[in-house]
Symmetry: C2
Subunit: 227 residues, 2 copies
């Protein structure tokens, strides 16, 4: 499903260059469940942003489901995201003035074939599955950190995406809530979804089929390189 070849991502700050990704080559099969681990600053979020078509690599090629995402323009990438990708951001990126329900409905607004009533029902269901049935009308500032994280997760799952990318999805959750979230990701995976998550939690990494370790922008270990 995913092919990365010679991927590099460099940030330029005046005279200084930060090499967030260097020479990354990776191939992820459709329906696989992969965990990306590594020290703070090692390039995990940058990697996930490239996979999610949110960021373009400065070098290399990214082919997603047969289409070359790295050479697409903004609109092309936005369409690809809307059709295939669900993304849980490390800092959530919820709309501050919208309720939890409205935040989760948002990705479904881009599917005009879904009637309002069904859209609302699917969003309600998604929030129920992350344990927030009694928080539908709360805005992000009226939610705890872990509740905000769960709204972000519900929003990413509501379209049942072909590719789910999650950046530290349990970072603000107690082990009980974290286990419930992992079960949701496992369910999407069981339905044929492809999951890539970044995590600092060893237990979460252990639940994945494949584990990729990053250091200084490179992939230095890969438990499933043959796959």
């Amino acid at each position: 499903l995913i092919l990365l070849e010679g991927i590099g991502r460099t940030y330029r700050m005046g005279e200084v260059e930060v090499h967030a990704l260097r020479g990354v080559a990776l191939s992820l099969a459709r329906g696989s469940f992969t965990a990306i681990v590594g020290a703070s600053g090692s390039g995990k979020s940058t990697m996930l942003n490239v996979l999610g078509c949110l960021d373009r690599p400065t070098s290399g090629r990214y082919v997603l489901d047969g289409r070359e995402a790295s050479s697409m323009d903004r609109d092309g990438r936005a369409r690809l995201r809307g059709e295939k990708i669900g993304f849980v951001f490390q800092s959530f990126h919820l709309l501050g003035r919208a309720s939890a329900l409205e935040n989760v409905e948002l990705p479904l607004l881009y599917r005009p074939e879904i009637p309002t009533r069904e859209r609302r029902e699917r969003a309600r269901e998604a929030l129920d599955r992350v344990g927030l049935a009694d928080r539908l009308d709360h805005r992000p500032t009226q939610l705890s950190g872990g509740q905000q994280q769960r709204v972000a997760i519900a929003r990413a799952l509501v379209t049942r995406p072909a590719l789910l990318l999650a950046d530290e999805p349990t970072g603000n959750l107690d082990s009980g809530s974290g286990t419930e979230i992992l079960a949701l990701l496992a369910a999407l995976h069981a339905e044929g979804g492809t999951v890539v998550l970044v995590t600092h939690d060893a237990a979460v990494a252990a639940s994945a089929q494949r584990r990729i370790l990053m250091r200084d922008g490179r992939v230095v270990e890969d438990s499933g390189a043959a796959a």
Copy 2:
């Protein structure tokens, strides 16, 4: 150092009331190291915000270092915070347009007796201690999630506060970085500081002297109630 009596915090949303804290009574000794644990939404951040004088309880009394914080006005609480408290927020709250160095200097700006050169040097040192010596000029959007968290930690520690309150300080950190941060908190504690941290990490909770478990706004377990 800290006395909470009959503390309640209720949020009103139209007709609905959310009881984020209910009947909390707690006494924390000067120089103690306490961990607050509990499920997502159980009231931990609300508790910490009351302790940090960022939020006023709707009922009950909070006495900090002999002064009744719960009855102070905004200015009184702001002064108390500036003098005695360092706070690491669950969502960091960094200034987006300032560099890491400027963000960490900020609490020292309220101490005009400290000359500019020394202020800059202390901020640089604080960032070095959290492993960010090479990120001084980066703004928050130019930092990884865990790097932003470490800037927030450095900012809370730069004044060597009498009371350090940290809300999930290792939530975005790999175990290596997390261990380094815990060592910094332990160092402050060894110098006589009082530390209260909220955490979902069992290892972090285990390193504290006392463990408080919250559920639905109440303290339901307390390993050091006699202290």
